[in-house]
C-alpha cells in the first residue's frame, strides 16, 4: 500500500528537503473528534502523516479497577458514544462470563434488537458526517431526520438519547414498553423507503464518486496485517464479522448477509456501511416473531463477586470488533480490564494510507475509517 511512494518520499526527506508542515486539528471541522494530524506536505501532496492522540484520555481502564463490576457499566457508554449499547454489551458479557451468569432467552433477543437499532443510528451518523466532510451537507440533514426516529425508539425503551446504560449484568433492567416492537417495525419500513434518497444523494452522485473511488485503497493483506475490523475490513474483501464468526446472544439463529466488498477504497468503505443498514433492518424484522415470553434478567446478588480467573468477550460494534478482557482476583473489583477498541486499531492504518494523496483526500479517508475518539483514547 503506497509502499514505493512512501520510500520515495522518505528518500526526498532524507536528502534534507523540507516539506511544509501543516497541523490538522485538534480543532478542525472534519476531524471526527479531537484528533491531531501533523502532515508534511509537498505542495498539495502528503509526504508524511503523524497522528497525535490522547486529547480525550481519562484513564478509563485504571478507573475500572477502582470500582465494583457493575459500577463500571455507565462508563462504557462513554467509550464509543455513538453506539453505547455495544459497549455496554461487551462489558456485561465479560462480567457474565467471569461470574458464570446465564442470560434469559428473551433478554438475549431484546439485546439483539437494541444492538441493531443502535447500529442503524450509528451508521446514519456516519453517512451524515461523511457527506459533510466531502461537502455534501444535505446528507447530514437527511440522515439526522431518520436518526431522530431511531433515537426516539431507543429513548422509549432506555430513557436516554445517547448514553443508554441499558444492558445490565444478567439481562436487562426492564422489559420492552408496550407496542415498542410495532414502532421498530414501522421504523424499518420507513428506513427502507428512505435509503433510496441516500443513494440519490451520495451513491449515485458523480462528484461524490469521483472524490471517493480509488482513493485510499487498502489491499486485503494489509487490512489484516493492520488488524482492521468491521466495515473498514469488509470493504477490502475479507469476510470477518464477529456476529457470524463467533456468534453471541442470538445471532447464530438469525439469517443475515455479511456485507463484503472487493475494492477496499473510500467508496467501498462508505458503501459497506450503507448496505449494512439494510441488513440491520433484516435482522430487526426477524427478532420480534421469535422472541419468547419469560424473564428478562437472571438473579444476581447485590454484591457481585467473581471467582479468580480471566474472561474475554467479543462484540461486533458498528466500527468493528470490540472486546473486553477482564481479570478477577476474587474481590468485588476487577483486577485488570483491557478494552480492545476497534477505532484504535483502525486508526493505525491512517498514517500510511494518506501518504501520496492530496490534502483534501485526507479528510475523505479519515471520514471513511469512521473513528470515534472517545474509544481511541479511553
Amino acid at each position: 500500500m503506497n509502499g514505493d511512494l512512501r520510500d520515495l518520499h522518505q528518500e526526498i526527506l532524507d536528502l534534507g528537503t523540507q516539506g511544509m508542515v501543516m497541523n490538522m486539528g485538534p480543532q478542525h471541522p472534519s476531524t471526527h473528534g479531537v484528533l491531531r494530524l501533523i502532515l508534511t506536505l509537498d505542495g498539495e501532496e502528503v509526504m508524511a502523516c503523524e497522528p497525535v492522540i490522547g486529547y480525550l484520555h481519562r484513564g478509563l481502564e485504571k478507573m475500572a479497577e477502582r470500582r465494583p463490576y457493575r459500577h463500571f457499566l455507565p462508563f462504557t457508554d462513554r467509550l464509543d458514544y455513538v453506539c453505547s449499547l455495544a459497549n455496554n454489551l461487551a462489558c456485561a458479557q465479560a462480567i457474565e462470563r467471569l461470574a458464570g451468569i446465564e442470560v434469559p432467552d428473551r433478554a438475549q433477543w431484546i439485546r439483539v434488537a437494541l444492538m441493531e437499532l443502535n447500529r442503524i443510528a450509528s451508521h446514519l451518523l456516519f453517512l451524515g458526517t461523511f457527506g459533510t466532510d466531502l461537502g455534501a451537507t444535505t446528507m447530514l440533514l437527511y440522515a439526522f431526520r431518520e436518526r431522530e426516529e431511531a433515537l426516539a425508539l431507543l429513548e422509549a425503551i432506555t430513557g436516554a438519547r445517547l448514553t443508554y446504560n441499558w444492558i445490565r449484568v444478567g439481562g436487562l433492567p426492564d422489559d420492552m414498553p408496550e407496542n415498542w416492537d410495532k414502532g421498530v417495525l414501522a421504523f424499518c419500513d420507513l428506513l427502507e423507503s428512505r435509503v433510496g434518497e441516500y443513494d440519490r444523494l451520495l451513491t449515485d452522485n458523480p462528484i461524490f464518486r469521483r472524490r471517493t473511488e480509488g482513493v485510499g485503497v487498502i489491499p486485503a493483506e494489509d487490512a489484516i496485517a493492520y488488524g482492521l475490523t468491521g466495515p473498514t475490513l469488509r470493504a477490502s474483501g475479507v469476510e470477518y464479522d464477529v456476529r457470524r464468526w463467533a456468534p453471541y446472544e442470538k445471532y447464530a439463529e438469525i439469517d443475515f448477509d455479511v456485507v463484503v466488498l472487493r475494492d477496499g477504497d473510500t467508496f467501498a468503505r462508505y458503501l459497506a456501511r450503507r448496505l449494512e443498514l439494510e441488513q440491520s433492518v433484516r435482522i430487526l424484522r426477524q427478532v420480534f416473531d421469535r422472541m419468547p415470553e419469560g424473564p428478562i434478567a437472571s438473579k444476581v446478588g447485590k454484591v457481585l463477586k467473581a471467582p479468580p480467573g480471566i474472561a474475554f468477550s467479543q462484540v461486533e460494534s458498528p466500527r468493528g470488533e470490540l472486546s473486553f478482557t477482564m481479570v478477577s482476583d476474587g474481590s468485588p473489583n476487577p483486577q485488570r480490564v483491557h478494552i480492545r477498541a476497534p477505532s484504535f486499531a483502525n486508526l493505525t492504518v491512517l498514517a500510511d494510507l494518506v501518504v501520496g494523496n492530496k490534502v483534501a483526500d485526507v479528510v475523505a479517508i479519515l471520514g471513511s475509517i469512521d473513528i470515534v475518539l472517545g474509544e481511541v483514547d479511553r
Partner: protein, 177 residues
C-alpha cells in the same frame, strides 16, 4: 431591511425614500449580536453528537441565528461539549483567546461543567471554568437538545442586557439537566 424586532419597530422613523432607525447604540448592537451568535465548531466527545443533533434537521439551531463556524476568528460563542483533558486544556484556552470580543462560553454537559463522571480521573480538568470564564452551564449527561437550546436562549437574553461600554455580568447561568 428584513424583520425588525417589535421593540425596535416603534423607533423606526419614516422618511421619504426609506426608514431610519433611531435607537440606543447598545440596543442595536445587542439586537444584532444576540440574533447572530455564531458558534465555534468544537466538539470534544459525547455532547458533540448531541450538539450536532441540535444543529441538524430536527431541532434546527439556524432558526435562532446560530451557525457553526469552523474558525475561532469568526465565532462569538464557544460551546465546550465534552470532557476536557489536561492535554486538551491549553488548546481550549488558545481557541478562546483567538475569538474576537465580545465572546461567550457555554459549558455543555456534566464533564465540561464540573468533571462529570470523570471527577476522580487524574487526567481530566474538573470543569472548563478552570480554564476560561463560563457564561452558561448546561448540565446533563449529555443534555437533551432542548436543554442546550434553553441555555442558548438564556445566553441571548444576557447578551441583550450587555453594553458596549464593557459592563458585563459575570456570574454564570445554570441550566439543570
Amino acid at each position: 431591511m428584513g424583520e425588525v424586532n417589535p421593540d425596535l419597530q416603534s423607533r423606526v422613523v419614516k422618511f421619504p425614500g426609506g426608514g431610519v432607525l433611531v435607537a440606543g447604540i447598545d440596543e442595536i448592537f445587542n439586537w444584532a449580536r444576540s440574533n447572530s451568535m455564531w458558534s465555534l465548531t468544537f466538539g470534544l466527545s459525547c455532547c458533540a453528537i448531541e450538539m450536532m443533533a441540535t444543529a441538524a434537521s430536527h431541532y434546527d439551531l439556524d432558526r435562532f441565528g446560530i451557525l457553526f463556524r469552523a474558525t475561532p476568528r469568526q465565532a462569538d460563542v464557544m460551546i465546550v461539549a465534552g470532557w476536557v483533558s489536561v492535554k486538551m486544556a491549553p488548546f481550549i484556552r488558545r481557541l478562546y483567546d483567538q475569538m474576537p470580543d465580545p465572546k461567550h462560553v457555554l459549558a455543555m454537559g456534566g464533564c465540561a461543567c464540573a468533571g462529570g463522571p470523570y471527577r476522580d480521573s487524574e487526567t481530566i480538568v474538573k470543569g472548563v471554568g478552570e480554564i476560561v470564564p463560563v457564561d452558561v452551564f448546561v448540565y446533563g449527561c449529555p443534555p437533551r437538545p432542548e436543554n442546550l437550546i434553553h441555555g442558548l436562549i438564556l445566553l441571548q437574553e444576557r447578551i441583550r442586557e450587555e453594553s458596549i461600554l464593557g459592563v458585563r455580568k459575570r456570574e454564570p447561568i445554570t441550566v439543570q439537566g
